[in-house]
Amino acid sequence: MSTLQMEFRKIKRKWIGLTMCALIGVQFAWLLWAGSRPNETERLYGWIEMLYSLPLVSVIMMPTIMAVLASRLADVEHKGNTYKLLKTLRRPGALYHAKVVCGGLFILAVSSAQFLFIIALGYARGYAGHPEWKHYGAAFFLNLACCLSLYLLQLLLSMLFFNQMVPLAAGLGGSMLGLVLMYIKMYSFLPWGGFLSSAQVTMDWNPETRVIHFYYREYSSVELCALAMIFVWILVFYGAGRILFARKES
């Protein structure tokens, strides 16, 4: 517990919370801009459409946000050359775990803010009815899991590389990959594709009537495998990070 407490003391004056707010603010601005003046039909399907948009926004924004978070948390140690001291005071596994939990709490805060924002936005725009809590709860949980898997990947890179450009480039690359490969099925199996495989809503667009129909999708066995990959990545990145950090000589 004291190791985790120290993680928060270490990042005093680093303004990580503020950085997260700024980055998540960009997401909010995007969501505010998209569908800012909904018509009656859009209000009718507002809640379900929001669940469709959210993974798309996340797949582009979250890899970068996770890269920044992991880099900020790891960089305080690299800059002061502190691992060689910390490893004489705590087991490397405990130090790594504290970084994971500390980042995890930030992710929880970011994800909560994200969902609270879209719910507030939905009510402010006058969407019909209420959010379907079962789907919103699942989306929240899956979004959290996707962010965690990406954070663990980024933390692994940030702790192993002194030069933080390497993990940051990986984060930006993940975001770019999201833009380019979004509609390729295999992409869902990659760590950055988790947001897409976790999307519960899909749509039909009729080119003649130009009407979009949103609906909750039925998961095929391949899609379920892609969904399970999110949790496999969490375990793989956590295990690899813990082992590699412990093995790394200071």
């Binding site: 004291s2 190791t3 005093k12 800059k79 050359n81 691992y83 001291l85 000589e249 200071s250």
Partner: protein, 306 residues
Amino acid sequence: MPTQNLVETHNLTKQYGKVCCVNTLNMMVPPGAIYGFLGPNGAGKSTTLKMILGLVRPTKGNITLFDTPVNEQNRMKLLAQTGSLIESPSYYGHLTGEENLRIIQTLKGCSEKDIDEVLKIVRLNEARGKLVNHYSLGMKQRLGLAAALLGFPKLLILDEPTNGLDPAGIQEMRELICSLPQAYGMTILLSSHLLSEIDQMADHVGIIRKGVLVYQDTLESLHAHSKEQIALRVSHTKVALDLLRQDGIEATQEDGYLLFPMVDDTCVANLCRHLVAQNISLYRIEKREKSLEDIFLSLTGKENSL
């Protein structure tokens, strides 16, 4: 197997690929000592200290701390009685000196009062509220020492603690380190590539060369090697050696010379007369003085820089 030493390494070896950085090193640090670990740059000093602290895994050999062989299970428990400053000091530049120490104090689980005390010891009391990024190098080094002192450990491991300091800072740091064993009963294992530094601070010395511990004893005994000697070159060395020994002079034979400790001029004259009387021809009489530097260079090799 219980030992008398606070730190012991047995055949400690570290190999990176084909390069052997530390080779079957057997170090012994007695309790209460200031052990100077001396060697040229790249000799393997830091690697050895890092292995003792568990920061580098040995390829072979084992380490005993406080009479207990170190293993993965007890490493943290044993290191809890140890403070260290390896190479450059570790710090969080965006935090104040006091905030830095508070983090270490919490992780060490020692008393909060220790922070005030160590800040006083390293004379950083007035700069405790200043961001460490605004500290000078000497202040950062003293903060590193303060962090190592937190909890007043039994063993302090300092790797080149005066590196990068100005002459005044070096002197201040030396005085501080020398005062610790008496004031707090600490044992200090200190590495340096400067012979003069070890000469001023240590009472025990270990000299490492290319990963091999080539000398280990008290500093006094190292100094004994540097005493003046008389060297004689004679026609019958063996006979002369026996004669000198009969006269109660502890002489040794080296490179065709007879060597014995410095005696007064009258004694030298009498000895020469005695040897000549025995039909031994006297070719040369030399006064030899081996400085500490000469000894260090002969042990570490002249090709290595100091």
